[in-house]
């Protein structure tokens, strides 16, 4: 099962290597990772999607907690958090009909047409992973020339935040 881990880490060089290196060394597979600075310039938030059963994820969490630069780590529950990913596609449009269909698909996913040429169309979309996976599958029928995904970012809903989610480690 895919888990979404949200880490607060010290914002200084080398942190990403320390965290990513831990995953490599322990043989965990990162599905996606995204990093950006937070409201506090001394801290960055990393969102890491990993696969594995409950025991593996617990072990990952404990190993990450040991890292000197990791301030907190949470395993985000699906129904308690927002998870979003941005994806950009360039899709082939051999005919006007296919172009029209693609624009229709885009509409269903609230995606935006970012650019168009005679033979292709560029689409950007934000959504949760399931939505991005779906649109990717649908667009693949027409032939995806290029695509890029950011990896997910995630946060707990304020209404679901618990006192133990404060900045300190567990």
């Amino acid at each position: 099962m895919l888990h979404t881990l949200s880490l607060l880490v010290r914002n200084h060089p080398g942190v990403l290597s320390h965290v990513a290196g831990l995953f490599t060394r322990r043989g965990y597979n990162i599905e996606s990772i995204s990093v950006g600075v937070t409201e506090n310039p001394e801290l960055s938030r990393m969102t890491i999607a990993v696969g594995g059963d409950e025991r593996v994820v617990q072990q990952i969490i404990k190993q990450c907690q040991k890292l000197v630069d990791v301030l907190s780590i949470k395993d985000l529950k699906y129904d308690e958090s927002i998870t979003r990913e941005l994806a950009v596609f360039v899709v082939k449009t051999p005919s006007n009909q296919s172009r029209a269909e693609i624009i229709q698909i885009a509409g269903v996913f609230n995606a935006r047409v970012a650019d168009m040429s005679e033979t292709s169309i560029m689409i950007e979309v934000t959504g949760n992973q399931r939505q991005i996976d779906s649109i990717t599958r649908l667009l693949a029928q027409y032939g995806i020339e290029e695509m890029a995904r950011t990896g997910i970012v995630a946060l707990t809903f304020p209404s679901k935040r618990k006192p133990e989610d404060s900045l300190e480690k567990e």
Binding site: V9, R10, G14, S17, H18, G21, L22, T24, R25, R55, Q58, Q59, K62, Q63, Q65, K66, L67, V68, D69, V70, L71, L167, E168, K169, E170
Partner: protein, 557 residues
């Protein structure tokens, strides 16, 4: 007060109480060496950086203090890597300081540049690349704090040459406060201890399984009292040797792949295992799914990540073993303790039926006999360091360790060549104690050049080579599991007596059983470094043995 980076470093080391550094200089660390020259801190010049870091480990493991080693950039730094991983695996507090090319050359493939920061990320507990001389004092304070607290480990500080030369106002470091580093310092959950005590009250066949954590936390006295009061038998890992007196009636000796049969049977039959500062290494568990299947497991560890890592702990207790045991002892007054008579009778039967013995009738130099003679001649009071292989296991089996921090073995990583330089560190720490290296001819040759170091600093280390002319442990596996095809394990080792003499040490050749004890006595009387070349049978094996990943039922010998 204005100081250079190099001066700040040395001031900071003094502030940490550093008395000795093991290392080798070079271009990128010369400003620091210049300050070191008249600093009052001793320096031991080894002949290889691997020797320096293993010596620092030997110093750290026997004293409990942080061991410090130093190297230049590039090849000097990369030569430390094996020791860093070794220290990480065995939770040894080390601060390694490496010179680095000047900041403006970093990333340009400058002469003797290596990205030791990047290389050492998975090899250290934490590491630093110093980019600002104003942060240096604070970084050194942090490094020592991280190395010695919680679960100890190695920390590396990479120090570019221009930072060593940069001048700044020296400000004493603030007390270390690392908001991200507090997972080790929690209250002990007493309710969990209550549960564990209840489990002790209910058990019929309990065993205490002790790892290196007991030694690191200095909990041997608490352990002794706990075992004596509960009358629960004690088995230790390779790292745990010395945490409980090996001659005590409750001692089961070492468990695991080459552990005693009675320790392994006891673990196999136990209905309660109290794991104290031990991490269920595969050399202990064998096939995990078959390991201690009927036992309830209480796991005490300072490192939360160790709990449930390999085996499921029914009662996890997170904390420093010494403090946890103190809570146990306090609560024992009210506990309804049993005497486990049936269990002790069973264990006694196993001990009688499967004692740890060896064939000793012939007039050959039997390795186990050599170890026993060293044990007797030193009254069990020596510091013993070892390489990796059969000799290491014979030493673990037949030297009955009585006290903590007297056994120094590369256990987690299994680094050949560890023993002799580690002895250098131990002898530097304890000039007046007997320090013995029990080594293999293969292991010894991996760091043999440190003979020059031992002789130069007048370190009276006694080196007992159990010389079988083979990479013995690998040969044993070849014999047992590869149809006797001895693929590239024959060494045909050199004349160690002449080599010893060439380095200015004393060499003794021992080819007969009758020569064993006199040679050891002579070595103990000599105040020079002594190399004893014990010619043991080429094809002797270490027994008992559980094959890798095997189960108790597959135990050989």
């Amino acid at each position: 007060m204005k100081l250079t980076g190099a001066q700040i470093l040395i001031e900071s080391l003094k502030a940490e109480g550093v008395e000795v550094i093991f290392g080798i200089p070079g271009g990128a660390i010369m400003p620091v060496y210049d300050v070191l020259f008249d600093s009052g801190i001793a320096h031991i010049l080894t002949r290889h950086e691997q020797g320096a870091i293993h010596a620092a480990e030997g110093y750290a493991r026997t004293t409990g203090k942080v061991g410090v080693c130093m190297a230049t950039s590039g090849p000097g730094a990369t030569n430390l890597v094996t020791g860093l991983v070794d220290a990480l695996m065995d939770s040894t507090p080390i601060v390694a300081i490496t010179g680095q090319v000047p900041t403006h050359l970093i990333g340009t493939d400058g002469f003797q540049e290596a990205d030791i920061y990047g290389i050492s990320i998975p090899a250290t507990k934490y590491n630093y690349l110093v980019r600002d001389v104003n942060k240096l004092a604070q970084i050194v304070a942090e490094a020592f704090y991280i190395a010695r607290t919680g679960r100890p480990g190695p920390v590396l500080i990479d120090l570019p040459k221009d930072i060593q030369n940069a001048v700044t106002e020296y400000v004493k470091p603030k007390p270390v406060s690392l908001p991200c580093y507090n997972q080790y310092f929690q209250e002990i959950n007493e309710a969990q201890v209550d549960k564990a005590i209840q489990a002790i009250e209910e058990a019929e066949r309990p065993v205490i399984y002790v790892g290196g954590g007991v030694i690191i936390s200095g909990a041997h006295q608490e352990l002794y009292e706990f075992a004596k009061r509960t009358r629960i038998p004690v088995t230790t890992t390779l790292m745990g040797l010395g945490s409980f007196p090996g001659t005590d009636e409750l001692s089961l000796g070492m468990l695991g792949m080459h552990g005693t049969k009675y320790a392994n049977y006891a673990m196999g039959e136990a209905d309660l295992i109290l794991a104290l500062g031990a991490r269920f290494d595969d050399r202990v568990t064998g096939k995990v799914s078959e390991f201690a299947r009927n036992a309830k497991i209480v796991h005490v560890d300072i490192d939360a990540a160790e709990i449930n890592k390999i085996v499921y702990a029914h009662i996890p207790i997170r904390g420093d073993v010494k403090k946890v045991l103190q809570v146990f002892l306090k609560k024992l007054d009210k506990a309804k303790l049993k005497t486990y008579d049936k269990w002790h009778k069973q264990i006694q039967e196993w001990k009688t039926q499967y004692p740890l013995t060896y064939e000793n009738s012939e007039d050959r130099v039997i390795p186990q006999y050599v170890v026993e003679q060293i044990y007797e001649a030193t009254k069990g009071e020596a510091i013993i360091t070892v390489g990796v292989g059969q000799h290491q296991m014979w030493a673990a089996q037949y030297y009955r360790f009585q006290a903590p921090r007297s056994w120094v073995s590369s256990s987690g990583l299994g680094t050949m060549g560890f023993g002799f330089p580690a002895a250098i560190g131990a002898q530097v720490a304890y000039p007046h104690r007997t320090v013995f290296t029990i080594d293999g001819d293969g292991s010894f040759q991996m760091t043999i050049q440190e003979l020059a170091t031992a002789v130069q600093y007048h370190l009276p280390i006694k080196i007992a080579i159990l010389n079988n002319g083979y990479l013995g442990m690998v040969r044993q596996w070849q014999q047992l599991f590869f149809k006797g095809r001895y693929s590239h394990t024959f060494l045909g080792s050199p004349d160690f007596v002449k080599i010893a003499e060439g380095y200015g040490a004393v060499g003794i050749l021992i080819t007969k059983k009758a020569e064993v004890r006199p040679a050891i006595e002579k070595a103990l009387e000599t105040d020079n470094t002594v190399v004893m070349d014990f010619r043991i049978p080429q094809e002797d094996n270490v027994y008992p043995m559980i094959p890798a990943g095997g189960t108790l039922k597959q135990m050989i010998g």
